[in-house]
Symmetry: C2
Subunit: 120 residues, 2 copies
């Protein structure tokens, strides 16, 4: 993750429609979901607007697309998201992990939606 990539990613995430798209795709998991369903999930997005934002997100490397019949399936790119924050937090504590430990711990919790379901 270099500076231009990070800038592009943050810019992509700084827009309401795009942020909702990414969050919806994160929840959708690795299988992703088609553009149309995405539009319904986030609400009030015309075909053209949705396409514009999806293209923007794909160019920023935050989502990927694949065609399945007449649908186009989009999915979130999790490594891009984590790489983003890694870029931001790099050298955050200069060898003093106690400084940033709370921050890192908060991140790990985002994987556990309250239910302590075991591994898979």
């Amino acid at each position: 993750m270099d500076e231009p990539s990070a800038l592009a990613a943050f810019a992509a995430l700084s827009q309401e429609t795009r942020l909702r798209i990414v969050r919806t795709l994160v929840r959708a998991g690795p299988d992703g979901m088609p553009a149309g369903a995405l539009g319904e999930a986030i609400g009030g997005a015309t075909s053209s607007r949705l396409s514009f934002h999806l293209t923007h997100l794909e160019q920023a490397g935050l989502v990927i697309s694949r065609r399945d019949g007449r649908f186009i399936i989009y999915a979130a790119v999790l490594p891009a998201l984590s790489g983003l924050i890694a870029f931001l937090m790099r050298d955050c504590c200069q060898g003093h992990p106690d400084i940033c430990a709370p921050a890192v711990a908060a991140l790990a919790c985002s994987c556990e939606p309250e239910k302590d379901d075991a591994n898979a």
Copy 2:
């Protein structure tokens, strides 16, 4: 962390000068550094430009300021940064940690300044 806050934070980070400010402050640690030194560290920022961006970052909750004599010291707000990615990754694996484990692991490594940073 709610959606409007996250949008403001991502917008704040989507600008080259501001991203550099935040990263410089993250490296500077909890003690922060004065605006002038910050300007020299990131290069080519006039007083007015720097102030504009610092105000923007402070309103987004990513940095805080305090006056020390005739200096104004700025420092990064680490919880805001981690809260940001937690908001983004929430429910990322729906109870299947193996999906997002690599992403989370990448974040934890950002505390170790072992790898050489080739930022642009």
